[in-house]
């Protein structure tokens, strides 16, 4: 009695310790078992045009999710397929179930509970034509569990409620189990058995018809997403569902295998596993037959190889490239070997060493897989298989202790060692290799050295080489594993522990664990919803929400999509390359945030958190990207991502984790913070007009002067600025790839391929982009202002020795020359000879000062939020880096050869010329409620000099002899005056069949109204055969004549 009392007291003390003293710990764990947390996504900010019209926004849409568990349990097709799978012990697919649904349902309903019970005891069972034989080992076939599944599915088919289940138990206990399921249900509900059959058959038929209708609607929804034709919709849907089922079951089998063995099944070659390891206990749990099991093993291997190629290899390559970039272009062989070896280190060791980097492979002791084999199988004590220690070269003691030849220095020896690793053969003595093999190893090492030290090494090349090397090592590993398992299997056969097929049995305790976990794993994996359609037709949403019971497994969820609102009639986003796009969070971003994500996961798991932890969790919830989250992938979406991106919220429910659970007890919520709206300076109307003009240029009215090839595939840009530097329109073409442009992509020669490349050309210089005569006004202004050039002094533009007009070595665009011209005439007629002579007067420093004064070679200001990815801009800072020769100076004054710029840079400089102030270009007017102030600085030039140059540019358009005169740019035609300078920059590429003809970029830069500048226009025509007067000028004219321009000007008081 004393002992009993003492024992009871001991139990009470321990109970007190666990329940009271350790309560917080266990309450925390308990809460985690029933805790559901959900990140509440923010709404990404809108992008608006200057007038507040929405360009892009996040739009609430419906998404259709599919949950296989619900489909399996509640949809007649899923019920039939899985009931039949349980019966036949093979994965009966949905097509087969659909084909035989009527018959199989009838057969299932005609089963009797008693027959099922007898079957669990090993007796035979007949179900229609199917005859399941008797067995002496019903447990091995999991008959009890399969019978339970069958009862469940039959009950579901009949629509059992809780009362019916209890009636079934009673019926079994009362000896009524010999009646069929249909008969029993008929009795309970006052029907005949035939009625029951008919009712269930009707329900199954209706479900199949519903499924076909659903398939059609889903196919329509997917066709809108552009990835599925409407034909054979039902088959496609079944294929999709079947694939999801296979993936779910494969994932479950992977998890169970890993539970039993400690490593994923894909780590072994499928044929090795199939030959030596009895995985049937896992297959039995999933009701798989041999074929399905083999399919799983093959798929698991493919997944592992894919993972290795998509993750391990790129990571390895990135690490080596990063090491090279960080160490003056050299990668040590030691590092390469360490990183390679680290990929074969046991995961537990690697995890324990996370963040600490790999250690020397020669000191590594625990390698992948082998330690996991210990205790894995149902075997009595055994010696380590002979091959076990020799799977990889990294394990070979001779290689680990290898002494390099005396003549090799340390670096050469390390590369040699790498070569030995690649050329290693099991049980070959590396210390006494035949000369040919030794030479081969040295050569391979040197190849690696050359590859990794090559300055032109591309990531793809390195990845391919690493992949090949890993393939070689994997082959050794698989060979060794196969031999080891062969030995173990022979041992198991000798000990009588092998299966009849001679396979190794997994240890019983491991199988116990698998058995315990199987239900949870399957439930967990099959309960996960996956999206099958986004933004479907409302009919589909209506159907699934109003008649959910007819479409088990499918559900509607609210989702969000980045919706382009400002679109062209063809649906393409206006200013697509400038606005950019959003992307799903990629693996690299998730990887970069893994530490924060791990910390967040840890905190989410904690039942009780300190205040500091709660604050940290809030911070992390908002920082860490969610797998579904989007980020700005380019353009303004990328550049302004920090402003547009909001911060996620979090909703946590401490209650039941089961989705169907009604017992929620509490809620902890952190509201999301939506992203800021961004208001651009772009005017949507002007942007549409600009893109339309660039996409569909009419060209010179005179067919003989047209460059039809350019008109057919225009490449260029158009920039429209407000006088204070606001970017009103920034269009570039091509703005979309099209089948017609595909031929250009294939063509040889950069300028042809450029016709197929979509890029933001207003801000970039794809290759060589001289400004041509568009640069002359700035040269003229500098000459007038800085060294008192006499504007009235006339210089001759006369023929040179070769008969063509020019100056020294620079020809004028006008073959017969301009004669004697002063500055105004030279600007009006764009005389190259005059400016070549003027250019000789400039020093290098003066050119550089001129460029700086007008902002060439520097950022325009559109990236006012700093250096961020997304918005591309070439500043062309390399211009005039080298010392100029006299010839260079002559060319520089004509904007040739050494002077380059972007359309945006030229537009900014032109705005300075027109207004006397150099603006910082502004692309963003406001972020949220915060205005982005315009900024500018005055030009340091005398007003009269500015006025003289401006007048000359007015004359370019409006006076005879002007290069843009007679091009319908006059006030009478446009309704406002226009001042401009044309430019044609020869590229030195001859035009076939045209004597002295060269290909050129052409420009127009000007402002309007000429007398009161409100806007600045720059047109850039990339790579044409005609001069600006026949190309860029006509594009400008086409744009300026648009009603949108006049409307804008009217709104801004520039024209009545």
């Amino acid at each position: 009695m004393v002992l009993v009392v003492a024992g009871a007291i001991a139990l009470l003390v321990r109970l007190f310790e666990v329940q009271v003293l350790e309560h917080d710990v266990w309450a925390n764990e308990a809460a985690n078992l029933v805790r559901t947390g959900q990140v509440v996504p923010y709404r990404r900010g809108r992008i608006l045009d200057a007038r507040g019209r929405t360009w892009v926004r996040d739009e609430d849409v419906f998404g259709i999710d599919f949950t296989y568990r619900d489909f399996r349990r509640d949809h007649p097709l899923g019920q039939v397929a899985h009931a039949r799978s349980a019966l036949e012990m093979r994965a009966v697919d949905l097509w087969e179930a659909r084909e035989h649904a009527a018959r199989w349902v009838r057969e299932l309903l005609d089963l009797t509970p008693a027959a099922l019970r007898a079957w669990t005891r090993g007796e035979p069972l007949a179900c229609g034509d199917l005859a399941l034989p008797a067995t002496g080992e019903p447990e091995r076939e999991r008959r009890a569990s399969r019978a339970s599944d069958l009862r469940f599915y039959v009950g579901r088919l009949l629509g059992y409620d809780l009362r019916d289940w209890k009636r079934l138990r009673t019926a079994l206990n009362d000896g009524e189990g010999a009646r069929t399921f249909a008969g029993l249900w008929a009795d309970w509900h006052g029907f005949s058995a035939d009625d029951v059959h008919a009712r269930v058959a009707r329900r199954v038929d209706a479900a199949l018809v519903d499924l076909e209708y659903l398939a059609e609607l889903l196919a329509e929804a997917r066709a809108r997403e552009g990835d599925m034709p409407l034909e054979e919709a039902a088959d496609e849907l079944l294929a999709d569902l079947e694939n999801r089922r296979r993936r779910t079951e494969n994932a479950a089998a992977d998890r169970l295998f890993r539970e039993a063995t400690g490593f994923p099944p894909g780590r072994f070659a499928p044929e090795t596993l199939a030959r030596y390891v009895d995985v049937s206990p896992i297959a039995v749990l999933l009701a798989w037959d041999e074929d399905r099991t083999q399919g799983w093993l093959r798929a698991a291997r493919e997944r592992w190889i894919d993972w290795r190629d998509a993750w391990t290899v790129p990571t390895l390559a990135a690490e080596l490239l990063a090491a090279r970039d960080g160490s003056g272009g050299r990668v040590s062989a030691e590092l390469t070997l360490q990183r390679l070896a680290a990929t074969f280190v046991h995961p537990a060791v690697a995890a324990a060493r996370a963040g600490g980097g790999p250690r020397s492979w020669q000191r590594e002791e625990r390698w992948s897989l082998l330690p996991d084999l210990e205790g894995l199988f149902e075997l009595d004590d055994y010696e380590e298989p002979a091959f076990a220690a020799w799977l990889l070269p990294f394990q070979d003691p001779a290689l680990r202790a290898w002494v390099p030849p005396a003549e090799e220095d340390r670096a050469a020896a390390a590369w040699h060692l790498l070569g030995l690793v690649e050329t290693w053969r099991p049980h070959a003595d590396v210390a006494a290799l035949p000369p040919a093999a030794a030479a081969e190893a040295r050569r391979v090492g040197e190849e690696w050295r050359d590859l990794l030290e090559s300055r032109s090494l591309r990531r793809e090349t390195l990845e391919a080489a690493l992949r090949d090397l890993l393939d070689v090592l994997e082959e050794h590993l698989q060979f060794g594993l196969s031999r080891s398992l062969d030995e173990l299997a022979a041992l198991a056969v000798a000990q009588g522990e092998a299966t009849p097929a001679g396979r190794l049995r997994l240890a019983g305790d491991r199988l116990d664990r698998v058995g315990e976990r199987a239900r949870f794993v399957l439930k967990d994996l099959s309960s996960r919803s996956v999206g099958v359609a986004l933004d479907p037709h409302y009919d589909l949403v209506h159907l699934l929400t109003r008649h959910a019971e007819r479409f088990a497994g499918f559900s509607v969820r609210e989702s969000r999509r980045r919706e382009p609102v400002a679109t062209h009639p063809d649906g393409r986003l206006v200013a697509a390359s400038l606005i950019g796009a959003v992307r799903r969070t990629d693996a690299v971003r998730l990887h970069d945030q893994r530490k924060q994500a791990d910390e967040l996961r840890r905190l989410r798991r904690k039942g009780t958190r300190t205040r500091a932890e709660e604050e940290l969790m809030k911070e992390l919830v908002r920082e860490v990207y969610q797998p579904e989250e989007v980020y700005g992938g380019g353009g303004l979406e990328g550049y302004l991502d920090p402003e547009l991106r909001g911060r996620n919220g979090y909703r946590e429910r401490v209650g039941l984790g089961d989705r169907r659970g009604p017992r929620a007890r509490g809620e902890w919520a952190l509201p999301p913070v939506d992203g800021d709206d961004v208001t651009l300076t772009l005017d949507l109307d002007l942007q549409v007009a600009a893109e339309d003009v660039l996409e569909h240029p009419r060209g010179d009215p005179d067919p003989a002067e047209r460059d039809q090839a350019w008109l057919d595939a225009p490449v260029g840009a158009l920039v429209l600025l407000g006088a204070r530097g606001d970017v009103l329109a920034a269009a570039s073409t091509p703005r979309a790839a099209s089948p017609a442009r595909a031929a250009y992509a294939e063509a040889s020669g950069r300028r042809w391929r450029e016709r197929a490349i979509v890029r933001e050309r207003t801000l970039t210089i794809p290759d060589f982009q001289p400004l041509g005569s568009g640069f002359k006004p700035f040269v003229a202004l500098w000459a007038l202002d800085r060294f008192g050039h006499d504007p009235h002094e006339a210089w001759s533009c006369a023929p040179l020795d070769d008969g063509r007009a020019g100056y020294v070595d620079l020809h004028c665009w006008r073959v017969w020359g301009h004669g004697d011209v002063d500055l105004a005439a030279a600007l009006r007629g764009s005389c190259n000879a005059y400016f070549a002579r003027l250019g000789e007067l400039f020093t290098d420093q003066e050119y550089r000062a001129l460029l700086a004064a007008f902002g060439f070679g520097g950022p325009t200001g559109v990236k006012s939020f700093g250096r961020r990815p997304g918005l591309p801009e070439n500043t062309a800072e390399h211009v005039l880096e080298r010392d100029l020769t006299p010839a260079d100076r002559r060319k520089a004054a004509n904007g040739l050869a050494v002077i380059e710029g972007t359309p945006m840079q030229l537009a900014r400089a032109t705005a300075a010329l027109a207004t006397g102030r150099l603006p910082e270009l502004r692309l963003v007017r406001a972020v949220g409620a915060r205005d982005v102030a315009p900024r500018s600085r005055p030009l340091d030039f005398a007003p009269e000099h500015l006025a003289r140059v401006r007048a000359a540019l007015v004359a370019v358009v409006n006076e005879r002899g002007g290069t843009a005169h007679g091009k319908e740019l006059d006030e009478a035609t446009l309704g406002f005056s226009f001042a401009a300078k044309t430019g044609s920059a020869d590229l030195g590429v001859p035009i076939e069949g045209v004597e002295h003809g060269t290909r050129k970029h052409t420009w127009v830069s000007g402002w309007f109204p000429a007398e009161d500048p409100q806007a600045v226009l720059v047109v850039f025509v990339y790579d044409t055969t005609k001069t600006s007067s026949h190309t860029a000028v006509w594009v400008a004219q086409q744009f300026l004549a648009r009603a949108e321009v006049r409307d804008w000007l009217r709104r801004n008081g520039g024209v009545q």
């Binding site: 809460a31 809780l162 315990e516």
Partner: protein, 405 residues
């Protein structure tokens, strides 16, 4: 010198007529002497079990599971309840005369298990019956051992070393057979019952301590030299490494899965518990065997320290009352059987609660009167009936030897 055997006749009421009358007798039972305290306590514990099992069944219905079947449990109760009555009415003399026969029947059933038993979870322990549950002969064997030990110790005073041979053989034979099933947990529960009965029968304490020490050394050697199956070793390792909460939590997804969920449920209960059916064990449904081996964890979680502490007190009281009842009996065989039944309850109680609290390595053992399980209920009711009946029967005895409590 052979002592004269006193065999009382049917005096004082007689034993009834016919073969059945020689086995059972209602008239021989002195109903006023039935230990109603024990019966009431047992019924209270049974009711506690029913209440919690009902709550589990309801939770399963809510969460669409079908792991616990309250109706089935009631059915088993109905099947097992006659065992209580039969135990109550059985005549001690018949029982004593046929103790070896019953023990032998248990051994036969155990021997049949490898041939006709059903395999579940890699163990072959059950024989299918057509009465609503499957029989687990190892459970019956415990009762068989109690009867056989009582029978052999009825004559033997364990004074000579040779006196130990019979009792040890009786205890070790079923232990070995059960261990081979394999069911080491059940096999080891026979050990404390046997040792306890030996002590109750007058074995010297130092001999028992010596035996227990040898047993401990044997157990340690079995663990240290890995003489037992790997999963059994792993259970011990897991137990050793799961004392601290942090270690147990660390291993929750491995071999400590069951221990982790049991400890989590118990620890979650705090002082007053989560409320009936509202524990994490019932809601999340991860706790294995929550209606049988782990029912204490569910009670502790939903009843809290007060509820679970009360259960421990009640159970201890039941054992003490049974031992007290035994101590009042003058007839040695009956006294040993009732004492053995008390030890049966004590062994199950301490092992089951100890396992759930992490005081002992994980092993599957029911908590009699509370857990589901047909064999367990049958043996529990039978044992309880015997304890009550033997204490209330009128058959006198001249035994006077010491009985230590």
């Amino acid at each position: 010198m052979r002592r004269a055997r006193y065999e009382p006749t049917a005096g004082g009421g007689g034993g009834g007529s016919g073969p059945l009358g020689r086995v059972f007798s209602a008239r021989q039972v002195r109903w006023m002497q039935v230990d109603w305290h024990v019966l009431v306590l047992a019924l209270i514990l049974l009711s506690v079990g029913l209440v919690f099992l009902r709550a589990m069944d309801e939770a399963d219905a809510v969460f669409q599971r079908s792991e616990v079947d309250f109706g089935s449990h009631l059915g088993k109760l109905v099947v097992a309840a006659p065992a209580l009555v039969l135990g109550l009415l059985i005549r001690p003399r018949w029982l004593r005369r046929n103790a070896y026969l019953l023990y032998g029947a248990c051994l036969v059933l155990l021997m049949l298990v490898p041939f006709i038993g059903q395999e579940r979870n890699n163990a072959r322990r059950w024989i299918q019956l057509p009465v609503g549950f499957d029989l687990q002969p190892s459970e019956l064997a415990k009762l068989g051992v109690i009867l056989a030990l009582a029978r052999v110790l009825y004559r033997s005073r364990l004074a000579r070393p040779a006196d130990w041979v019979g009792p040890l053989a009786i205890a070790l034979a079923p232990m070995g057979m059960v261990a081979l099933q394999p069911d080491l947990g059940t096999a080891l529960t026979i050990a404390p019952i046997s040792l306890g009965m030996l002590w109750l029968a007058g074995a010297r304490a130092r001999v028992l301590v010596l035996g227990m020490t040898a047993g401990a050394v044997l157990a340690f050697s079995a663990w240290h030299f890995e003489w037992v199956k790997s999963y059994q070793l792993q259970r011990v390792d897991t137990w050793i490494h799961s004392w601290e909460p942090a270690e147990l939590i660390e291993g929750r997804n491995g071999p400590a899965f069951h221990s982790y969920h049991a400890r989590t449920a118990i620890g979650n209960g705090a002082w007053t518990g989560t409320g009936l059916g509202r524990g994490v064990a019932n809601e999340a449904g991860h706790l294995p065997e929550r209606s049988s081996d782990s029912i204490f964890a569910v009670v502790a979680e939903e009843g809290g320290f007060l509820g679970a502490g009360g259960l421990i007190v009640l159970y201890a009281l039941l054992i003490v009352l049974l031992l007290g009842s035994a101590s009042t009996l003058r007839e040695r065989f009956s006294r040993l059987v009732v004492g053995g039944v008390a030890l049966y309850f004590a062994a199950h109680f301490f092992v089951n609660v100890g396992v759930n609290l992490g005081l002992l390595p994980m092993t599957g053992l029911t908590l009699p009167l509370l857990s589901t399980g047909g064999s367990s209920l049958l043996v529990t009711f039978g044992a309880l009936g015997l304890a009550l009946g033997l204490a209330a029967h009128r058959e006198p005895s001249l035994d006077r030897d010491a009985f230590r409590l």
